[in-house]
């Protein structure tokens, strides 16, 4: 089955999200609050980057040179949401984003797992297995921390800051409109309500009417934090773009 441009746009947005989420998770390896968390973040980051590879392959076809595509594109060709471009320097923010993102990610993979395209379906089915553990990990940590005054304050602040960015994730962008639902599932925006229900269940009811995506959020536009993370990931590879690394 050949994917059309709108379906590829849906998958590219997901691939870029997974790539940057994996990249951001790597920043916590070795500096998490305890060794077990260093190990967990290592696993989760590897999984997200693995999903990015699989999705880039679907977007570009198997003969695409993944690294050239993932690292060599102009910044204007990226379609990541701003949630994953955001640096999270406090552990509470990293944990809350991990939960918000993985809950959305679960719904996205579920939507793809019914795809009429067997390659898409296979990638989604494998990813869903891994996501079960990611979600369990984030939930277990939150369960353990909730009820402590300082933890609750930090988690609350992180949630206030990150929720607007997280709801913006559900905008797949102009290029994805009209994508074939039998291939990529329902439009991303339709997943926002089940996701909100999960957030309410986890953190208590949120005032959703006042949670708006940040002004100017658009997957075709890069946030103020993109260049820093993009420069870092390209620092070595751009030393000699002709080389095999």
């Amino acid at each position: 089955m050949k994917l059309g441009a709108p379906e590829r746009a849906v998958l590219l947005a997901f691939a870029d999200d997974e790539h940057l989420m994996g990249q951001r998770h790597t920043e916590w390896i070795g500096v998490a609050p305890f060794l077990e968390e260093d190990l967990a973040f290592s696993s989760i980051a590897q999984d997200e980057l693995g999903h990015a590879v699989a999705l880039y392959e679907l977007v570009g076809g198997h003969d695409t040179e993944i690294d050239a595509y993932a690292f060599g594109r102009d910044r204007s060709a990226w379609r990541s949401c701003w949630l994953v471009e955001q640096p999270c320097t406090d552990w509470a923010a990293a944990l809350v984003r991990h939960w918000l993102y993985d809950t959305a990610e679960w719904l996205r993979w579920e939507a793809l797992s019914g795809s009429a395209d067997e390659r898409v379906r296979a990638v989604a089915e494998r990813a869903l297995q891994e996501e079960r553990y990611h979600r369990r990990h984030a939930d277990a940590l939150l369960d353990a921390l909730v009820g402590d005054e300082e933890a609750d304050r930090r988690i609350g602040e992180a949630l206030d800051h990150l929720l607007p960015l997280a709801v913006a994730l559900f905008d797949a962008g102009q290029e994805a409109s009209g994508a074939d639902v039998t291939v990529v599932g329902p439009p991303l925006v339709e997943l926002v309500n089940p996701w909100r229900a999960e957030v309410d269940r986890r953190f208590g009811p949120r005032p959703w009417s006042s949670v708006e995506p940040p002004a100017g959020h658009d997957r075709a536009v890069r946030s103020q934090h993109f260049d820093e993370v993009h420069d870092r990931m390209r620092e070595v590879i751009s030393l000699d773009p002709t080389a095999t690394w």
Partner: protein, 314 residues
């Protein structure tokens, strides 16, 4: 297979009897009444190993976000995960010896009060330093660990070393593959690796430590099976020809191949560099320990919160 333990046989005050028990291949388990000297020396050795695995993981972490390529990045994450996983296991084994808890060991490490291997007191300046570390340092560590595994008398350490040595074998192959990529790479890559080799040859050589003393307690206690100089020479005999064979220059003006013996002879080693790292005063010690301490302090609230919530639950 012998099931004798010192617990059945010994009197903790009988050091000679204990050493004879070890010499016959006796294995010591955590509950055994081991002599204080043994407990102290073995604990110190395992703590040093644990700290080194952790600080090695931290050396790599700085480069993970910059890894050139998605699959390369996943591979280096997996390797870092192994190193931190080794530290995790080693801290458990060390804390079971009842000298310090894991928390005390980490607190001491980040306060600059305990030791870790000399190589992790240096800065990894470019990605090629990562390659040099994976190729030369991991190989040196593997040679040392294989020598410990050969005789290791402390049961829990012996068991986890089996796993560590198996995983380090994969790391060494990963290092070889990265080295080949550079050796067969572009001019820029070859120059980068040569510069990294100039920085890492001597620290890697000194990882084995100075020549062992004739009465090295760790050999008597059957933790080490061979003296440092023998292990160091094994590494030189393997890596000097490989590196020169790839057309790189080993930064030792006195290095020469003796056609009569077939051996590679190295020049005099300046041990002042090792001494500086042993005092946590190596070229990058302050930054490394300082960064680790700062991160540890930044996440203290999580550990404190978990302690409070679990105390409440109990």
């Amino acid at each position: 297979m012998s099931t004798r333990t010192w617990h059945d046989l010994g009197d903790p005050g009988d050091l000679d009897g204990f050493v004879a028990f070890l010499a016959e291949g006796g294995i010591v388990e955590p509950g055994d009444p081991m002599p204080d000297e043994y407990r102290r020396e073995v604990f110190r050795f395992i703590e040093l190993h644990a700290n080194s695995e952790l600080m090695g993981g931290l050396t790599e972490r700085d480069w993970i976000p910059k890894a050139p390529g998605l699959r390369r990045k996943m591979a280096i994450i997996a390797k870092t995960q192994d190193e931190i996983g080794h530290a995790h296991l080693l801290y458990m084994v060390a804390s079971d010896m009842g000298v310090k808890t894991r928390d005390q060991m980490l607190t001491d490490l980040f306060a600059g009060r305990s030791r870790f291997h000399n190589v992790f007191h240096y800065a990894a300046v470019t990605w090629a330093d990562q390659v040099a570390i994976a190729y030369l340092v991991d190989a040196a560590a593997l040679i040392s660990q294989q020598a410990v595994l050969k005789v290791c008398s402390y049961g829990p350490y012996r068991r986890i070393l089996k796993r560590i040595v198996a995983e380090e074998g994969f790391h060494m192959r990963h290092g070889e593959e990265m080295l080949l990529t550079f050796a067969e790479g572009t001019e820029i890559q070859r120059r980068m690796f040569q510069e990294a080799l100039d920085r890492w040859w001597l620290p890697a050589l000194q990882l084995f430590g100075p020549d062992s003393k004739p009465d090295d307690e760790l050999i008597t206690f059957r933790i080490k099976s061979e003296p440092n100089e023998v292990l160091r020479d094994r590494w030189v005999q393997k890596y000097a020809p490989l590196l020169t064979g790839y057309g790189f220059t080993v930064p030792d003006p006195d290095l020469r191949h003796d056609p009569d013996t077939g051996r590679w002879e190295i020049g005099e080693i300046d041990w002042s560099h090792l001494k500086a790292t042993l005092a946590n005063a190596g070229p990058d010690s302050a930054r490394r320990i300082g960064d680790a301490a700062r991160h540890w302090a930044d996440t203290a609230w999580v550990r404190d919160a978990l302690e409070r919530t679990s105390a409440r639950a109990a």
